[in-house]
């Protein structure tokens, strides 16, 4: 009997419109909540990726120096989407230990420099033409607090540096040098090995 009466109640709800309305409300509530879940999930993805480029670079050597990344060859790309016609060197840094000075003198025809934060997003970049000092790279990466300390006692040659003020304390710097001529590869390799990424002492 109870089955029959609930059945009747069901059909009555269908007929008087309660059920479609309620179903629509449930669907609408579900979609709204689903939208919130969608947004939270998408926004949360970058913070929960285990294999960021920043994490992978630690496999190529210690932090705080430029490590030459292995050649970009099929099946053994050091990082995804690197250009196989370029030679790369990367330096992981932590500005909590002090401002970072990056120096390099790479040969033509092309090199570029980019700073990435720990989530792999580019925060600064330049190439040999926009570096403005005839192919030399002299960069100071610094937080706002460190810059205010530095301004009180500026080191000599500060005006020749490109000062990059950032709120990201952890990240990595990447140098790309074009490797077009096999005969000139030694020169590029030597220049990459000379690239410096040093933490400045700050009291």
């Amino acid at each position: 009997m109870s089955a029959r009466t609930s059945d009747r109640g069901f059909w009555r709800e269908v007929l008087d419109g309660t059920l479609p309305v309620r179903a629509a409300m449930i669907l609408l509530a579900g979609l709204f909540l689903g939208g919130i879940i969608h947004v939270v999930t998408v926004l949360g993805v970058p913070a929960h990726v285990p294999q960021t480029a920043y994490a992978r670079i630690s496999a190529f050597g210690p932090d705080g120096v430029f490590n030459r990344l292995p050649d970009v060859v099929p099946g053994a790309e050091p990082l995804p989407m690197l250009d196989p016609t370029m030679l790369h060197a990367a330096c992981r840094f932590d500005l909590g230990r002090g401002p970072l000075k990056i120096e390099a003198a790479l040969p033509p025809p092309f090199w570029s420099f980019a700073l990435f934060n720990a989530r792999g997003q580019a925060i600064y970049s330049l190439n040999d033409r926009t570096s403005g000092s005839g192919g030399r790279l002299d960069v100071l990466v610094i937080t706002t607090e460190q810059l205010s300390v530095l301004r009180e006692n500026p080191p000599e040659g500060l005006e020749d540096l490109i000062v990059i003020e950032t709120d990201e304390t952890m990240g990595y710097a990447l140098l790309r040098a074009f490797d077009g001529e096999p005969l000139r590869r030694d020169i590029v390799e030597a220049a990459l090995a000379e690239a410096r990424c040093t933490v400045l002492a700050q009291q």
């Binding site: 009466t5 419109g17 919130i36 993805v45 690197l82 092309f110 190439n127 033409r129 077009g180």
Partner: protein, 251 residues
């Protein structure tokens, strides 16, 4: 008014089923105590009161509704998020012919979908001061590129101080080819006097500008990286030449 609410109301035998839920299941149907039914004074007590639907007591529980809402929310939310991150909606895409670039990808200005897609893959973007990566997944007739086919890439590239052309598989990984080099670059290219070039992408060596591909790769995508290009600053995007891709022989 002499309507005796307490007097027994005579009801047709067919009515109790339609009566309000208060009666149902209370074991009173057989007891003839119909006087406890709410009666409708407007109908002279002849009809049982029919409450509006919205006021009728609910039998289906709140828990069931909540479970339904949550099931819809979780499935819709996570599935749509998964597909959005996996496929990546094309916000801020720069299309030049078959070539597609996402200038904001891998920067802090990237839209959340692009940022999520990018973070998941761990790819290293070309920052705007370095250059711009263009990808081609189809040929100029709109057909998906196939690693089993030869392609002719012809025309002119957008202005850049240096560009490189590299074949990748559908997952944007490098593929092992028979060639001695992984790609072509603009400094080692045979051009016609008018500056146009013709590149033949094939698994076997070809005369002229040969771009080695792998016939057994999983998919084919051409990556054209423009280094130090004015396109990254957003100037002069209109009427920028980009090479066309034509399909040749297939095996």
């Amino acid at each position: 008014m002499t309507i005796p609410v307490t007097t027994p109301v005579t009801m047709p035998a067919s009515l109790p089923g339609r009566a309000s839920g208060r009666l149902r299941g209370s074991g009173m149907r057989g007891s003839r105590r119909r006087a406890s039914l709410p009666v409708n004074p407007e109908a002279d007590g002849q009809m049982p009161d029919r409450l509006p639907a919205i006021l009728r007591p609910r039998r289906r529980t709140f828990a069931l509704n909540l479970a339904l809402v949550l099931a819809i929310a979780v499935s819709v939310g996570f599935l749509s998020a998964y597909f959005a991150v996996e496929r990546g909606p094309a916000f801020g895409t720069l299309n030049l012919g078959v070539w597609e670039a996402r200038p904001s990808q891998g920067t802090r200005e990237a839209d959340p979908y692009s940022a999520a897609t990018h973070a998941r893959t761990g790819r290293v973007p070309l920052a705007d001061g370095e250059g711009l990566v263009f990808l081609a997944r189809t040929d100029s007739s709109g057909a998906l590129l196939s690693p089993a086919c030869d392609y002719v890439i012809a025309g002119q590239a957008a202005p850049a101080r240096l560009w490189t052309l590299v074949p990748l598989d559908a997952g944007l990984r490098l593929v092992a080819t028979q060639g001695p080099r992984a790609g072509l670059d603009s400094r080692h290219l045979l051009r016609r006097p008018d500056g146009e070039f013709t590149v033949t992408a094939a698994a076997r060596a070809r005369p002229g500008n040969w771009l080695p591909t792998a016939a057994d790769a999983a998919g084919l995508v051409f990556a054209l990286r423009l280094y130090d290009t004015p396109l990254t600053t957003g100037t002069g995007v209109a009427n920028v030449p980009m090479p066309s891709i034509f399909r040749g022989d297939c095996r």
